[in-house]
């Protein structure tokens, strides 16, 4: 990890950090190319690819038809040829038409071909709620990917990680789903819609080095050390968790998973063994969500250390409802209440 605060560092939003990662890889690796809907001339609906077509040429960064299955399918074919395609799916909600390509092809190619072919593709896609995007611009499908063996799933929570994890994903030899929490593209958001919006400027994790660096996949980060309860979160929820912990006044340890596959099981288990309690926070619907796997793993590995039931604070088991954005979105209040509950004497 390059030193912070050197001349080469600058404060970037997550958008800029992702752009810088792509720019870096296009610059150094002629086998990297990127395509997706509206990402070429226009620079993407969230501007992540802004300027890249002009700088690297249309063959390195181009628009794709509205055909998600072929976007992923063509990327797999390119990867089999030897390239490292990075594709954008405009919203994670729209990755489902390509679900079969991801599950039956990208995730299985190396295994079924006895290692003759493999698919080092990276699928970037904005996900999550908090933007009044309604049912199909707000969903968090990570559990669907986590259940598919052969796929890796990465979720950054800040600009520094976003760049380092994206470069690591592109360089990884396996297919990676790279979920970008769109609510924090332009600034951290702690789940309190009434509080004035912040930008990333000045945030320590918005100090992003120029050039190449990686944040390895499968290493969680402890964002806050604590002794009483472990909070597991990723993406936007890391910021919500920090606010919820503060609100609760409880000495919680906050773990930012950064990737859910591979999962940093050691850091999780070590923390829960220390604290004896665990609360899991995610935006996705609760039932059969990724929180269930985390809960099951913690229970299996820390059973004799647990002093209270593991709780899950999640999106309700409903579609994502437009008018009820803040009733639906799991905010710091709900986390604080759960923390208080798990700290109650049995």
């Amino acid at each position: 990890m390059p030193e912070k605060g050197t001349a080469a560092n600058s404060s970037m939003s997550m958008i800029q950090a992702l752009n810088s990662a792509l720019d870096t890889m296009l610059g150094q690796d002629p086998d990297t190319l990127i395509f997706g809907q509206d990402i070429g001339y226009f620079g993407g609906v969230f501007r992540v690819t802004e300027g890249l077509q002009a700088k690297h040429g249309a063959k390195r960064c181009f628009d794709a038809p509205i055909a998600e299955s072929a976007i992923i399918g063509a990327a797999i074919g390119m990867a089999a040829y030897g390239l490292r395609p990075v594709v954008e799916i405009q919203f994670a909600d729209y990755i489902l038409p390509a679900f079969d390509q991801l599950v039956s092809e990208a995730a299985r190619l190396r295994y079924r071909s006895g290692g003759q072919f493999w698919a080092p593709i990276t699928v970037r896609t904005p996900y999550g709620g908090g933007i009044f995007g309604g049912q199909t611009h707000s969903q968090s499908p990570e559990a669907l990917f986590a259940h598919v063996t052969g796929l890796k799933t990465v979720i950054p929570s800040n600009p520094y990680d976003a760049k380092g994890l994206l470069i690591a994903s592109i360089e990884d030899e396996d297919p990676v789903i790279f979920l970008e929490p769109k609510r924090i593209y332009n600034g951290p958001f702690d789940g309190r819609p009434d509080v004035a919006l912040k930008s990333w400027a000045g945030h320590p994790l918005a100090e992003v080095p120029a050039g190449h660096y990686t944040v390895p996949l499968g290493q969680a980060a402890i964002r806050r050390e604590g002794n009483d309860v472990t909070v597991l979160a990723y993406g936007t929820m890391v910021h919500v968790a920090a606010a919820g912990i503060e609100q609760s006044g409880i000495d919680a340890e906050l773990i930012d998973l950064r990737s859910i596959v591979p999962l940093d099981i050691e850091t999780i288990v070590e923390s829960v063994k220390k604290t004896g309690r665990c609360v899991i926070l995610h935006e996705a619907t609760r039932f059969s969500g990724f929180g269930a796997e985390l809960s099951a793993l913690v229970q299996e590995r820390c059973f004799y250390h647990l002093e209270a039931p593991i709780e899950r604070v999640c999106g309700w088991d409903t579609p994502y409802p437009h008018a009820f954005e803040w009733d639906y979105f799991p905010g710091p209040g709900r986390l604080a209440a759960a923390l208080a509950r798990v700290m109650e004497p049995a």
């Binding site: 226009f42 249309a58 509205i66 199909t136 008018a323 009820f324």
Partner: protein, 409 residues
């Protein structure tokens, strides 16, 4: 010459911002030039149809040629009114978004002829499977304006109970199926619905819409296969408005052939129609209905039109296309063209037009006012219990528990 290797072709539009718009590559036949075969013609004799362009209104506003439909002036005036109402409503609610009253809006400016003509022509028990750009369908059927605004504001009176993004309406009683944000999926529902009509021996027709950009989705193809194989009584419409957000139609294949030509691969007739010409839209739709009623199944229609505004409230079109492209669009404005025709046949005049505009503006303002009295986004919403209703026919324990946990009882 020895072969030296391939080159990857990346399509690009004729012009970008800062350049003068150009439409020279479009070959637009004059009104009246494209023949109209009998609707009972077998599909394999119709393979040239997709390369013509059915047009009725000429530059002067005359209705000419074989596609000229038989429509009474009163109906034409209803069409004009529905188009104008759509335009005025779009302007007003786009502004409401800019004023922070809702989260999102999309206009259909320039494309009003398609949905309004089809809405007036199809029957009350037919069903359209809309995209987000066919508001005109509802306008032509006098859907209550206040309900539209309530939906857009997700307020306590929202007919969709606050659950859906603005403008993703659903209006079963108006023959208007539920819209969703994901593209292409409802095209197959249209065919299933049409198959159900045929299964029951009913005479109801389904009308599906899809954008030219969305024709690239696999669902487009699977739908056409079903329509063709089961001879489903439906009309499948591609609104080719030249743009899919920032991507010009060439990204969906427009540089290679017409969208109407996609019909050929399914043995279906593919009509290509001036989508800014209310009379041509009417005539082509009428032709397709007659064809279905003759037992000949589905028709694919490409409506050649132009998206005069940005994709939605989220983009600025001058970042990806010449800013004066919309005004230079060679097929004009559908409202102006119908107005010109009605005026020419002495069924309309400037005074009536001005009065109509004033009246419609008044109606829209009243509706907006009514809805604002209930509340704009965030200021009013249905009871939070609505978040937990309608997930299943009856909520299971998860939803009941969660409703309680959310304090919504």
């Amino acid at each position: 010459m020895p072969f030296r290797g391939f080159e990857l072709h990346i399509p690009a539009p004729e012009r970008r911002p800062g350049e003068r718009p150009s439409f020279d590559h479009l070959k637009i036949p004059p009104a009246g030039a494209t023949p109209r075969p009998s609707p009972s013609t077998p599909a394999h004799e119709l393979r040239e149809l997709p390369y013509g362009l059915a047009r009725v209104l000429d530059d002067a506003g005359n209705a000419v040629g074989p596609w000229k439909p038989d429509i009474d002036p009163e109906t034409l005036r209803r069409g004009l009114k529905a188009m104008l109402l759509t335009r005025i409503f779009d302007e007003r609610l786009f502004r409401a978004h800019r004023q922070g009253k809702t989260s999102f809006y999309m206009k259909s400016t320039g494309e009003e002829a398609v949905s309004t003509a089809q809405s007036l022509l199809l029957g009350a028990s037919d069903m359209c499977f809309p995209t987000y750009r066919v508001l005109g369908w509802l306008m032509a059927r006098d859907y209550p304006l206040t309900d539209l605004v309530n939906q857009i504001y997700s307020n306590a009176r929202d007919p969709l109970r606050g659950r859906q993004l603005p403008i993703l309406y659903s209006a079963r009683d108006y023959g208007f199926y539920s819209i969703s944000g994901n593209l292409g999926t409802r095209f197959a529902h249209a065919v299933g619905w049409a198959m159900a009509s045929a299964y029951r021996g009913d005479s109801n027709i389904a009308l599906g819409y899809i954008g030219e950009g969305s024709t690239a989705e696999g669902d487009f193809h699977e739908t056409l296969t079903f329509a063709s194989v089961y001879h489903a009584p439906c009309i499948l419409c591609i609104t080719n408005n030249q743009w899919a957000i920032s991507s010009y139609s060439g990204i969906a294949g427009a540089d290679e052939t017409t969208f109407a030509a996609k019909a050929i691969g399914y043995g279906l007739p593919g009509l290509r129609v001036d989508g800014n010409d209310f009379l041509a839209v009417w005539a082509a739709t009428q032709w397709s209905i007659e064809r279905a009623q003759a037992g000949l199944g589905a028709t694919l229609i490409e409506f050649f039109t132009y998206r005069m505004e940005g994709h939605s409230t989220s983009d600025d079109p001058t970042r990806y296309r010449p800013s004066d492209e919309p005004v230079e669009w060679p097929l004009g404005d559908p409202i102006e063209r119908l107005r010109q025709h009605l005026t020419l046949i002495a069924e309309w005049d400037d005074a009536r037009h001005a009065a109509l505009v004033a009246d419609l503006s008044e109606q829209v303002s009243a509706a907006v006012k009514d809805a604002e009295a209930v509340g704009t986004l965030g200021k009013s919403k249905p009871p939070v219990t609505e978040m937990f209703e309608g997930v299943f026919s009856r909520p299971d324990w998860r939803l009941i528990e969660q409703r309680r946990e959310a304090g919504a009882e």
